[in-house]
């Protein structure tokens, strides 16, 4: 029963929603299903918050290495929760000026907005900015000319890299728009780095990406079917009763 009922619900819901994609009258049912999911996720968020508290408190009480970070996490958690729930510093809504709490907790100037704008946002941006350094280190490893394939990859990467910046124009912009050795089709300017980069991206990268996308679409269809038909139940546990 523990797995049969969820399987039944998911199978019926899944197949009905597939059918609604072809029946205009019921095409909004998918949105309704998403609203139901959001309700469930909201309840699960309490579970997540509880788990976060439990884990961090355990670390602090056991004085595990790095327990100070857990203390910071908990302090930040409670301050944000309080500031958001109590609507600290919120300006009253223009329609209800007599009620101090009638404004939106996200409105500009509120404490919650301040936390988001001046703490959360810069911290997120800092993490995101690290990506630039990681891209450099990953590129350094990926583009080492270890063998023939890696050398080809390196050459193509250099063309695309230069072709997508002004360096490409600067380096090859002087190539004249004249036919090579009197041939009719090809000109010197065809070897402009931006042009070569465009050819690589449009004629080689795009078909490759499309092939991957087709494979992904088929994989999604197959996995969805396995889940709906109950062929793959591992996400609900094993075939034995737990």
């Amino acid at each position: 029963m523990k797995r049969t009922i969820p399987l039944l619900i998911s199978a019926v819901t899944g197949f009905v929603l597939i059918a609604t994609a072809f029946i205009p009258k019921f095409v909004d049912w998918g949105n309704d299903a998403m609203a139901w999911f959001n309700l469930l996720a909201a309840f699960a968020f309490i579970l997540g918050g509880g788990n976060l508290l439990k884990m961090q408190l355990q670390k602090i009480s056991a004085q595990q290495p790095g327990w100070g970070y857990s203390a910071v996490t908990l302090i930040a958690f409670f301050i944000t929760l309080f500031v958001g729930l109590a609507k600290v510093g919120v300006h009253p809504n223009i329609n209800f000026p007599e009620f101090a709490w009638s404004g939106d907790y996200l409105s500009e100037g509120s404490a919650f907005w301040w936390l988001f704008e001046y703490i959360f946002y810069p911290l997120s941006a800092t993490m995101f900015a690290l990506l630039a350094f990681y891209i450099s280190s990953a590129a350094f490893r990926a583009f080492r000319a270890k063998n023939t394939e890696a050398t080809i990859l390196l050459m193509i990467a250099v063309i695309v890299l230069l072709g997508r910046t002004y360096a490409g124009v600067w380096l090859t912009g002087w190539l004249p728009n004249e036919p090579i050795l009197g041939s009719s089709g090809i000109t010197y300017s065809d070897f402009h780095l931006p042009h070569l980069s465009e050819i690589i991206m449009d004629d080689f990268t795009t078909p490759g990406m499309r092939a991957i996308t087709i494979g992904i679409a088929l994989g999604v269809a197959s996995t969805s079917l396995k889940v709906l038909l109950g062929v793959d139940r591992s996400y609900l546990g094993s075939d034995q009763e737990a």
Partner: protein, 418 residues
């Protein structure tokens, strides 16, 4: 004495400027010419709630005229079978726009539409009405998606057929996937080194199919860690994923005969926030130095931060995702990457269950259909290009190949098809 001279000169200058700029102070703006060929059509394949309107732009609605003679169009509507009904404004598309969709229609009600062009100083053109009322009708089946329906039936049908064949004992050959073979080696290495295995199931919720695929792979990884008695940690960025992962890992340990070694607290929730989650997981990596890292699910910008950190601590890394934009990052930074369809095939491959392997054959059939369509499309497009050489556009559009090419583009490919 000279006080009056300055204002007089100013007035003179203004008059001079106005006269030279060609703007008349007395003549009012003329109303623009009305749009022509105004027509309305029921939107095909909808729930009977929309009507499309088309018109030819007013002759005064020119692209580069300044100031513009037409500023916008006003569309009005009234119910046709009600004598007392008046035209009501339903939309005001801007200049150079010649279509409008009325999405607030009632099914089965006849409507009449009117259009006017609005010019400078709110001058209005002569209104143009459609001659016959139009009714928005409900379609029970979206015929525009009929080719898509055919493909869904073909591909899903083939998956089901192959699953059934596998159930009946037909042996299916599946090629080796190096990334999946490496999972056992990675877990074995972690056991030997006495370090943990880290499993990241992406940053999306359980309603994302990639997360579901990631969780199904987690079941197989957990079985392996249970067999090898390695420590498995699963930090999640969604509460529902945490509960699902806990059930999955618990059942895997149970199936492996080691339920007592399952530790619930090793599967925990961090935060929904993308970079907060990344900060926590990478911090964990640097402190604990896991020997094996698995990234299976939906990833965005955090993919490379995670994979590079894992690389820097010397972990064996296996990644799998269906996010095409993140695949290059994983390929560059991880030891093995499951690309797109391999990621979805992983659960079936690792479980080795015949009926799951059957679904992979169904996928192959889908690829066959896709490949044949691509070939046919390329052939038709190429032949059409050769056939159209030296012909006028009208002659080209009449040819069979051109019609076939248009039909494929509009029906078999795109929104309503493959």
């Amino acid at each position: 004495m000279y006080k009056w001279i300055n204002p007089a000169i100013k007035r003179l200058m203004i008059l001079l400027l106005i006269s030279t700029s060609g703007v008349s102070l007395v003549s009012a703006a003329e109303p623009p010419a009305p749009p022509t060929d105004f027509r309305a059509e029921d939107v095909p394949g909808d729930a009977g709630t929309a009507i499309d309107l088309f018109w030819t732009l007013s002759p005064d609605d020119e692209e580069n005229t300044k100031p513009r003679k037409v500023l916008r169009y006003v569309i009005s509507r009234k119910v046709a079978d009600n004598k007392d009904a008046k035209f009501e404004n339903i939309g005001e598309p801007t200049y150079r726009v010649n279509t409008f969709r009325d999405s607030n229609c009632k099914t089965g009600v006849p409507y009449l539409y009117r259009i006017e062009a609005i010019g400078q100083e709110s001058t209005t053109s002569t209104p143009v009405e459609i001659s016959e009322p139009v009714i928005a009708t409900l379609q029970w089946f979206n015929l525009q998606r009929s080719w898509f329906a055919v493909f869904v039936i073909l591909i899903c049908g083939s998956v089901i057929v192959f699953i059934e064949m596998a159930r009946r004992g037909k042996t299916l050959k599946i090629r080796k996937i190096a990334g999946l073979e490496a999972i056992k080696d990675a877990v074995g290495r972690a056991t030997e080194m006495g370090r943990s295995c880290l499993y990241v199931p992406g940053i999306q919720d359980i309603n994302d199919i990639q997360t579901v695929a990631g969780i199904t792979i987690l079941a197989q990884v957990a079985k392996t860690t249970a067999d090898y008695r390695a420590k498995l940690e699963v930090p999640t960025s969604r509460s529902l994923v945490m509960t699902t992962a806990r059930d999955t890992v618990e059942a895997a340990y149970l199936a492996a005969g080691r339920p007592d070694e399952y530790i619930e607290d090793d599967i925990y929730y961090i935060t929904d926030e993308q970079f907060g989650y990344v900060a926590s997981v990478t911090g964990k990596m640097v402190r604990d130095k896991p020997a094996a890292c698995f990234y299976m699910g939906a990833f965005y910008a955090e993919s490379l931060i995670l994979a590079e950190t894992g690389n820097s601590v010397g972990a064996i890394q296996v990644a799998g995702t269906a996010m095409p934009t993140q695949l290059p990052f994983f390929v560059a930074a991880c030891d093995f990457t499951l690309i797109g369809e391999e990621f979805f095939a992983a659960s079936a491959y690792l479980s080795g269950e015949p009926q799951q392997l059957g679904s992979l054959k169904g996928q192959d059939f889908g690829k066959l259909i896709g490949g044949l369509l691509l070939l046919a499309g390329c052939l038709i497009m190429t032949l059409s290009a050769f056939e159209g050489r030296g012909e006028s556009q009208e002659e080209q559009s009449q040819s069979f190949l051109h019609s076939a090419q248009t039909y494929i583009k509009e029906n078999i490919l795109g929104k309503g098809g493959f």
